[in-house]
């Protein structure tokens, strides 16, 4: 389809909106209400352009201009909102003419009539769409001489989101967002005309995804209360990295100021999180800055009863050398949390081999992992039948719930152009009827997904799976749907996945029977990556539950077995319960400060980049392994991200140092799989670790310790 924009003829696919045609032509139109992942409604009227198209006569041929002999362009009588105007064959769009400029500037003047212009005190200042567009397209002056609207300036919509009603320009992005993305209508317009304001019916915003409205608000009306007044937008050091709070791996921007993490914002990744984040990932970072320990510490007097005293790394290494000298290197245990990067995991694996120890473990993990290729998140959103067994998706992988919502809406994804995701995809309608019959949820406890499913029951996932496999007559409808479905997906939650190989085998059989795809929600954020490394006890090695070793390095785990009496080195960001029993404390960096690779639940490798956070002398696991090697006069094979990535280049034939922005699905075939490793496992993790609980973050003041528990987890 050919469209002419300001004299440039371009080729665009059918269904393209006029605004995307203008952007495709390399020109710019101001807009506020459009958002790539929301339905276009044309509320702000900012994207006015002149448009016209040829018309066909009664004989079915194009009406020609008598003078030129070309098809005659019939112009719309007035400028049109380009975000709700579908481009058609031969359409002519004028976006840069004087009359368009005048219309846009006039619209801007209208928008600014009731805007308070308190940019200096507004947290959005410097990153505000209205500010930028007013500068680019406005008159620079207002003819409005009357009283402006005055409304509530500081209104806490919830604990985490603060609303300034004066600044609102009624673009309706937030209202549409709640209806369309999480499917929870908690916000709406109240009153009419210039008295319109947004508010929620109940106290707070009862949604796990409320923070996203602070990202999409084009003005400073909805703001992040956690980072309120912590810094201006130009003062932050922005780092594009990945959230490791759960296994989805949403792309985030970490904003730090003066070496302190102040704000987390969503970043677009079409494949994974679109632009959305859950509230836990967005707001639950404050634990990091409270009571953090950034120097090594040793015990006064050298006994565990002694008080902690800060030490240098040299002193800590000397102490470790003294203690480990008495212990055989085979008797040293290496234990880590499962949210470490792939590179750190490899360093741990290689170092354990170097030490000759069999006691290496990571937690939380399932005793067994599926070898089937999981579906991608895009496949989830486009599936035609999803069976969720024993999963609380909103807890275990929250953004996956948004993809399920998308699936219920029909799996319509916005088109992608060279200039990015379609700004206004006219195929995306408002208020779509949800196809609830496409979702079936069985879990032992009712959760948020139950309300959205066509069929949901409070039965344990494992028994449901067993009955399904047995062909129970009660599930006849489900069998029918599974058989009819082209792209069915089975999602297995922690409740089922922790039960071990036998149950997993059942799920695999079920999936293969119906040609479905199996998505097992990983136990921890990087579990799907670490399960391909040999990070489980081998032979007679001691697992984390037993810890029958003379000395142990415990990295970022909350607890150690109560009967452990050996030499304990704890590597963590805070003084945890495990640290209170340690002999030496080694400071750790958080996931926000690490460089490396993270594998999400679909097996996608995503790049972590270190934010500009002042971590003092903290090091990552590779640094600790280096220190241990120093103490034992060993030279660890993997000493940095680069050497680990070279090793992965050999193993996987993939360059992890230059992954695309959207990540890359890793093909693990050919490498030793998790199943072979876990066969040696003696103990089974029966407890389920949910990494964090957004429900607890919502509507409550999160004290640091609590927030930390939510995040760092450990076995509870």
């Amino acid at each position: 389809m050919k469209v002419t924009v300001d004299g440039r003829t371009i080729e665009v696919p059918t269904g393209t909106s006029a605004i995307d045609a203008v952007f495709a032509a390399g020109l710019d139109v101001p807009y506020f209400c459009s958002q790539p992942y929301l339905s276009p409604i044309g509320a702000c009227r900012m994207c006015l352009v002149e448009a016209g198209s040829p018309r066909k006569g009664p004989d079915g041929t194009l009406i020609l201009d008598e003078k030129t002999g070309q098809p005659k362009i019939f112009w719309f009588p007035k400028p049109q909102a380009s975000c709700t105007l579908m481009a058609s064959e031969g359409m002519v769009i004028v976006s840069q003419s004087a009359s368009v400029k005048k219309a846009q500037a006039g619209m801007m003047e209208f928008t600014l009539i009731n805007h308070p212009l308190d940019c200096p005190t507004c947290d959005k200042g410097g990153a505000c769409e209205l500010q930028d567009r007013a500068y680019e397209y406005g008159y620079g002056d207002s003819r409005f001489e009357f009283d402006r609207r005055h409304a509530d300036k500081h209104y806490n919509l919830s604990e985490n989101v603060v609303l300034d009603q004066e600044r609102c320009i009624h673009c309706k992005r937030c209202v549409r967002y709640f209806e369309e993305v999480p499917g929870e209508e908690v916000l709406d317009f109240i009153e009419r005309g210039s008295y319109t304001f947004i508010d929620s019916a109940e106290e707070g915003l009862p949604s796990n995804f409320s923070g996203n409205i602070t990202d999409i608000c084009p003005v400073g009306a909805l703001l992040d209360n956690v980072s309120r007044f912590r810094g201006r937008n130009w003062e932050y050091d922005h780092t594009a990295t990945v959230c490791t709070a759960c296994s989805v791996g949403c792309s985030i921007t970490v904003d730090a100021r003066n070496g302190q993490l102040e704000r987390i914002q969503g970043r677009e990744n079409y494949q994974v999180n679109q632009t959305w984040l859950c509230d836990g990932g967005r707001f639950g970072h404050t634990w990091l800055r409270h009571e953090r320990i950034t120097t090594p510490m040793i015990r006064e007097g050298g006994t565990r009863a002694g008080a902690w005293v800060p030490a240098t790394w040299d002193e800590a290494i000397r102490l470790i050398r003294g203690k480990l000298g008495e212990i055989s290197s085979k008797n040293i245990g290496l234990y880590s949390h499962a949210d470490i990067t792939l590179e750190e995991g490899l360093a741990l694996e290689r170092f354990a081999a170097q030490l000759g120890t069999d006691s290496v473990d990571h937690a939380p993990r399932y005793s067994s992992a599926s070898t089937l290729v999981p579906p991608t998140l895009l496949e989830v959103s486009q599936a035609d039948f999803v069976l969720v067994l024993g999963a609380d998706v909103h807890e275990e992988a929250p953004v996956l719930a948004l993809r399920l919502e998308e699936m219920l809406k029909g799996g319509l994804l916005p088109a992608r152009y060279e200039h990015g995701t379609a700004i206004a995809d006219l195929r995306m309608p408002e208020r779509v009827v949800r196809q609830r019959h496409k979702l079936v949820v069985f879990s032992s406890k009712s959760n948020l997904l139950h309300g959205k499913a066509g069929l949901a029951a409070e039965i344990s996932g494992a028994s449901a799976l067993h009955d399904l496999l047995a062909g129970s007559a009660a599930f006849a409808d489900i069998f029918k749907s599974l058989e009819a479905a082209q792209k069915p997906i089975v999602i297995l939650g922690a409740e089922v996945a922790c039960l071990g190989r036998a149950v997993l085998q059942e799920a695999e059989t079920l999936v293969q029977k119906y040609n479905a795809k199996l998505l097992v929600l990983p136990a921890a954020s990087n579990s799907s990556g670490l399960s391909h490394l040999q990070l489980v006890p081998r032979g007679k090695g001691s697992s984390l539950q037993a810890m029958q070793v003379g000395a142990a390095l415990v990295s970022r785990l909350e607890q150690v077995p109560a009967d452990f009496a050996g030499f304990l080195m704890v590597h963590d960001t805070h003084l945890t319960e495990a640290a209170t029993r340690a002999d030496v404390f080694l400071p750790a960096v958080s996931s926000y400060e690490k460089r490396g690779t993270f594998i999400n639940l679909e097996g996608r490798a995503l790049t972590l980049r270190g934010a500009a956070i002042d971590a003092g002398e903290s090091v990552d696991l590779m640094g600790v392994i280096g220190a241990l090697g120093d103490a034992l006069n060993l030279k660890p094979e993997i000493r940095g991200v680069r050497s680990a990535q070279r090793e992965f280049q050999k193993r996987l034939n993939i360059d992890l140092s230059s992954l695309p922005d959207e990540g890359q699905i890793i093909n693990w075939s050919g490498t030793s799989s998790a199943a072979t490793f876990s066969a040696a496992t003696s103990s089974v993790h029966s407890s389920v670790t949910t990494m964090w609980k957004p429900n607890m973050l919502r509507g409550k003041n999160v004290v640091p310790q609590q927030a930390r528990e939510l995040f760092v987890g450990g076995d509870d």
Binding site: D118, P120, T121, G125, H154, F229, R232, W234
Partner: protein, 202 residues
């Protein structure tokens, strides 16, 4: 060269003997400043309410070419606000050694809170003592840190070594009035002006 030329030249030289000396005996005599001279910054307050004009917007820090300004903002307690509106500067620091007294901060300030005053006697001994906080710059504070320190330890008032007609942007600022002293060594004692009262808001 004739005698006349020498006499003419000597005449000029000798005639200067009878002129008033041009030397301004600073510090005994105050330096005469122009109002537009840019010296140490002053953080002003709103007349009447006495609230701080500064809203902690950091625009001064953004405008500063020497990165001398550091601002941390916080939310006002509506019961006892520091400034009108929601936001105020909980930390406002200027490194006087980095500052080049260009006045960009004053130009950038949307509320006219930060204004460059006329004090220039800022010399001090330690690098770390040059970070001026809010209390060091708030209107009503007279003199540099060293001057106030000397005044504290000696019990004598701060005396400014200059005279100036204060420009109106410096709302509420009054520099110590004229003083005449004779003794060069202990000249700072005889000043009757009380620096504490000068410039302080009602």
């Amino acid at each position: 060269m004739g005698v006349m030329e020498i006499a003419k030249g000597m005449g000029i030289t000798l005639s200067k003997l009878f002129q008033k000396p041009v030397t301004i005996c600073y510090p005994e005599q105050p330096a005469q400043l122009k109002a537009r001279f840019r010296g140490r910054h002053v953080l002003t307050r709103h007349p009447g309410t006495g609230l701080e004009k500064c809203i902690g917007c950091s625009l001064c820090a953004a405008a500063c070419p020497a990165y001398a300004i550091y601002v941390e903002a916080a939310e006002n307690d509506p019961k006892s606000p520091h400034s009108p509106g929601e936001r105020y500067a909980s930390v406002y620091e200027i490194n006087m050694l980095r500052c080049i007294f260009c006045g960009m901060c004053e130009e950038a300030c949307p509320t006219g809170a930060i204004v460059l005053g006329n004090e220039f006697e800022l010399a001090d001994y330690r690098y770390g003592d040059f970070v001026y906080g809010k209390e060091d710059m708030m209107v009503g504070t007279q003199g540099s840190k060293l001057q106030r320190r000397e005044a504290r330890t000696s019990g004598k008032p701060v005396v400014m070594g200059f005279e100036v007609s204060v420009r109106e942007e410096l709302e509420g600022v009054k520099y110590a009035p004229d003083r005449r002293v004779s003794d060069g060594e202990s000249n700072r004692a005889s000043n009757p002006a009380n620096p504490e009262s000068a410039g302080r808001k009602a």
